[in-house]
């Protein structure tokens, strides 16, 4: 913080760390020094996976939501999409992680996990719709991933999941993801294939086709 004179540090509700007021010129060096993966805070991509503390620490928790959140984040980070994508995992229906207003909201219950899709906390708050209930953590990954891949393939640029769902209808999504197991697995595999080797734009500039010239004024251009 001192090295780059960063004025404000904030821990976000999505468990990311905000460094506010970094000069754009300093960003590549700041990332090199931090050495952590980017949270893609401004990207049309997976944003945060918000979680409550879950069954490890909460007396009401029925599932380990923190672990589920970590698993989802590790499986989906670097996932670009038609628009930003927000996830949350709550360990019980009290829903401390506010999964009901996320693109994919996961709620732990005694017998497994409930998945909700198409929520939105924006200008017009939209409650996520119940999608499916599954038993295992592996199924949470597969069903969430398959839905997100369907959205990636069919969603329009700048169309959030709530608007995508409104356009194609919940029945369409259920048909492709729930009723057709082979298609669900194919979607999930296509997503994993797409994410395999996806570069981190802050560390693999060339591979991610990041033009570093944007961080510097033209050479020797301080004009008297």
């Amino acid at each position: 913080m001192d090295k780059y004179r960063i004025p404000t540090v904030k821990v976000t509700s999505g468990q990311r760390i905000d460094l506010l007021g970094v000069k754009k010129e300093d960003l590549p060096a700041v990332w090199q020094d931090i050495g952590m993966p980017s949270g893609h805070a401004y990207a049309k991509a997976l944003r945060t996976v918000k979680t409550c503390v879950g069954s490890e620490w909460c007396r009401f928790g029925t599932q380990d939501s923190t672990q589920m959140g970590k698993d989802l984040e590790r499986a989906l980070w670097r996932m670009y999409a038609p628009h930003k994508v927000k996830l949350a995992v709550s360990g019980c229906p009290r829903n401390c992680a506010e999964a009901g207003i996320k693109d994919v909201g996961v709620i732990g219950v005694d017998s497994g996990w409930e998945l909700y899709i198409g929520g939105n906390g924006g200008i017009k708050t939209e409650v996520a719709q119940f999608f499916v209930k599954v038993r295992s953590a592996a199924e949470v990954l597969e069903y969430s991933g398959a839905f997100l891949q369907l959205y990636r393939e069919e969603g329009w640029y700048l169309e959030r999941t709530v608007h995508y769902l409104g356009r194609v209808g919940m029945d369409h999504v259920k048909q492709r993801v729930l009723d057709d197991a082979a298609n669900r697995q194919a979607l999930w595999e296509r997503l994993q294939f797409a994410l395999d080797g996806e570069p981190d734009p802050w560390f693999e500039h060339a591979k991610a086709q990041v033009d570093l010239r944007q961080f510097a004024p033209v050479a020797g251009a301080v004009v008297a």
């Binding site: 007021g21 010239r213 944007q214 033209v218 251009a221 301080v222």
Partner: protein
């Protein structure tokens, strides 16, 4: 308006500017000048400051002869600096030319034009 001849100063090569992108030319005083390159390799220069809330136009998306300000998506004409309706405002324009692949700005404008305008400040010291 200004009868004197420009004093052309080379600032960079056209190829130093990404197509449909921009580079900043820092000045000794005042906000930097943003030099934009269109898809067909024409080059335009505006003060790197949106007439709306001072957004850095050099960080915006260039399309056709416009740049979309990254702060609030105003469309600013690269040709005359005017905001596209219904927004109203005009960015400060700088003379600019290409000669043999080099981009030239007017040294007198770089030294004197709009040096009193400041860049917006964000954060705790910004005030309301």
């Amino acid at each position: 308006m200004n009868a004197r001849a420009p004093i052309w100063r080379a600032v960079c090569a056209v190829d130093d500017i990404p197509p449909l992108g921009a580079r900043r030319v820092a000045r000794e005083r005042g906000v930097a000048v943003a030099v934009f390159r269109t898809a067909d390799d024409r080059v335009f220069a505006l003060l790197d400051r949106c007439p709306h809330k001072g957004g850095p136009l050099s960080q915006g998306i260039v399309f056709g002869e416009h740049v979309a300000c990254p702060l609030h998506n105003w469309s600013i004409s690269l040709v005359d600096g005017e905001a596209r309706a219904p927004d109203v405002g005009c960015a400060v324009r700088f003379a600019c030319k290409i000669d043999a692949g080099q981009v030239y700005l007017d040294a007198d404008e770089l030294a004197h034009r709009a040096v009193d305008l400041a860049a917006p400040v964000a954060g705790p010291k910004a005030g309301i």
